[in-house]
């Protein structure tokens, strides 16, 4: 039996700055809490194709697992947690604006 589809967001890096970005219904955001959560596999595939076509904006597009919560999606793997937050040795990256 195929594995059941788990909720996902589409993520990538911004072409110009390299920042971690997430796809929203209408574009891209730097904040995971604003990302569009995809719960349907067919829908996720279509959104991924759309994201992959936006090479003028983003690089390295892929689907990342999340847990949908009241405050927005939360990463389920530590790698995505670091991507969402920035490095642990300096308050650089996304932490600077928090």
């Amino acid at each position: 039996m195929p594995k059941p589809f788990t909720p996902k967001v589409i993520t990538a890096n911004a072409l110009l700055e390299g920042d971690v970005v997430y796809q929203t219904a209408t574009g891209w955001t730097r904040s995971l809490s604003e990302a569009e959560v995809l719960t349907d596999e067919a829908d996720a595939d279509l959104r991924l194709i759309d994201a992959l076509s936006q090479q003028d904006l983003v690089v390295g597009v892929y689907l990342a697992d999340v847990a949908p919560e009241a405050g927005g999606p939360r990463p389920t793997h530590f790698r995505e947690e670091f991507r969402a937050k920035g490095p642990s040795n300096y308050a650089h990256g996304k932490q600077e604006t928090l």
């Binding site: 530590f78 670091f82 040795n89």
Partner: protein
């Protein structure tokens, strides 16, 4: 110090102009990412977790003060005010924006630096003993030949698409400070019947399948070196496996075919190409050698040094730990630690870079080195200048007295920056250093090299750490495996895995148990961790690491 010729300047300006146009075409949409990626990698530009990363080559780890000042300026103008010195004597900028990279490369070119071949399946930056030209135990300065190899390998038309990346290290001393046995090719300058030549070692490497290099030739004369290198890389280029990335390095080629087979093939290739080397390389080499002439060493009174050494315990502790024997009387080699307790190993702020550049200008014959252990070296300092130098280092938080000790940890960037990493390295290094600083034990523990990698690729050289730590992803949780007894010197050995891994919370107490265990196990304070390990083997160290298993075993035996 090598200075660029008109040819070098022109070549680099052309490359930088090409890359500037490639970046513009990527931004305006004429190039796809698939088309652009190999082009940016050829120029040292990676895309990491949070941002782009520019890896700048520091050939054989040698810089002058103007170059260090420019690295500081670049860190300030286009990055976040710091740079990260790596285990291959390079510097990495972690936060450049794509549009700025061509300007950064032009700024590097102003001081004869570049980022060419710091990525891709090419011959990478040639590394060398960081004490080159200064060490008391040296046969000859390895940097002229390292520069010759840099010129030969840069843009070499046959070697731009090797099966995999290719790393060369050179030393001129019997004591190996350049880890030459863990390189694709390791070279050691040796003397035979009054003639200088090279011992040639091939097939070393760390990563997924760690291997100690094997001696291909015990003596190659100086004028045969380039044809020999060309023959080795040619043989690898054809024979190296392109079907499996994990089996593509020359260490696997040597392992699968055997050193005798490789030697026969290299001999045949050498015979075929030798006549193409007409001696021009030796003319180039002699010009390079004159660039690396030793500085005019001075003589001065040692009174100020001796007085500081007697009266200032902080200076004495630093001098005892951070100085090495220089070949010139009255001189010392100064290692500046980039491992302040709790800081990120290998990071320097722009201000610290400027301080080090200034000290090199004032006290160090304008020379600096980057070590593969992620520290900065002032190779030529007269002892009379050491008290003033130490005072200036203290002010810039660069006077940590821990070279070769437990807090002088090598750590790769790990999952805080690297897209390949499977776990973090930096916080583990920070916590170990902080913990042993609290315990005030590191000087009692003595020489001990901890090396941490955040993935199997082993940029943190964990296999050759006396204590190696490898960060892995075990079912979605960071997990750290310990290896023991590794050694990166002329007595190179690969560490043995101690047992099951530890979580991020468990790893610091585990290292503490291990080191306290060693203090109990050693014969006397002169027996180092590595010596004790070699005498006793894994078992007693394992018992210290896994006390519960050890007591269970004891109960079962009883």
């Amino acid at each position: 110090m090598y200075s660029y010729t008109e040819f070098d300047d022109k070549f680099l300006a052309e490359r930088n102009a090409q890359f500037r146009a490639q970046v513009e075409r990527r931004i305006d949409g004429s190039l796809t990412e698939d088309e652009f990626k190999p082009l940016r990698l050829m120029n040292g530009l990676y895309l990491q977790l949070h941002a782009y990363m520019l890896r700048v080559a520091i050939p054989y780890g040698t810089l002058n003060s103007a170059q260090m000042d420019q690295l500081a300026r670049i860190a300030e103008q286009w990055d976040k005010g710091y740079g990260h010195f790596t285990t291959r004597q390079n510097i990495q900028y972690n936060w450049p924006e794509l549009r700025d990279v061509p300007d950064m490369l032009d700024a590097l070119a102003e001081v004869n630096l570049h980022a060419i071949q710091t990525s891709g399946n090419t011959i990478r930056n040639v590394t060398a003993d960081h004490f080159a030209g200064a060490a008391a135990d040296e046969v000859a300065d390895p940097r002229p030949v390292a520069e010759l190899i840099r010129q030969w390998s840069t843009d070499h038309p046959e070697f731009q698409f090797l099966p995999r990346k290719f790393k060369v290290a050179v030393t001129g001393a019997a004591a190996d400070r350049a880890v030459i046995k863990a390189h694709d090719i390791g070279l050691r300058i040796v003397e035979r019947d009054g003639e200088q030549g090279f011992e040639v070692i091939v097939g070393g490497g760390l990563g997924r399948t760690p291997m100690i290099g094997k001696v291909l030739y015990d003596f190659v004369s100086a004028d045969d070196l380039l044809p020999t290198l060309e023959a080795i890389v040619s043989v690898y280029n054809v024979l190296g496996r392109r079907d499996n990335k994990y089996k593509a390095r020359i260490k696997i080629t040597v392992h699968e075919n055997g050193i005798e087979d490789i030697r026969a093939r290299v001999d045949a290739q050498y015979a075929l190409i030798r006549s193409q080397f007409t001696g021009v390389d030796q003319q180039v080499l002699s010009r390079i050698e004159s660039d690396f002439a030793a500085p005019q060493f001075k003589t001065a009174s040692l009174a100020a040094y001796e007085s500081a050494y007697t009266n200032d315990p902080v200076f004495r502790a630093w001098a005892d730990t951070n100085l090495a024997e220089h070949r010139a009387p009255g001189y010392a080699i100064v290692s500046i630690s980039l491992k302040a307790h709790g800081a990120t190993p290998g990071d320097a702020t722009a201000n610290q870079m400027r301080v080090m550049a200034d000290l090199a200008r004032r006290f160090g014959h304008d020379e600096l080195r980057i070590s593969h252990e992620q520290n900065v070296i002032l190779p030529h300092v007269h002892r009379s200048d050491l008290p003033a130098l130490h005072a200036a280092l203290k002010e810039a938080k660069l006077a940590t007295a821990n070279i070769g000790l437990i807090s002088d940890i090598i750590a790769c960037p790990g999952m805080d920056y690297c897209a390949l990493a499977t776990a973090r390295s930096i916080p583990i290094a920070q916590e170990i250093a902080t913990r042993f600083d609290e315990l005030k034990l590191e000087h009692d523990v003595g020489p001990l090299k901890i090396k941490i990698s955040g993935c199997i690729n082993a940029c943190g050289h964990h296999h050759v750490g006396h204590i190696g730590i490898l960060g892995l992803d075990r079912a979605g949780v960071e997990n750290y495996q310990i290896t023991l007894g590794g050694d990166g010197t002329e007595n190179a050995s690969i560490g043995e895995r101690a047992g099951p891994g530890f979580s991020a919370e468990e790893i610091i107490p585990a290292i503490e148990r291990l080191v306290l265990g060693y203090l109990d196990l050693r014969n006397d304070p002169s027996e180092t961790f590595l010596q004790a390990y070699r005498r006793l083997g894994l078992a007693p160290f394992k018992a210290a690491l896994y006390p519960e298993t050890a007591s269970k075993d004891q109960a079962n035996a009883a």
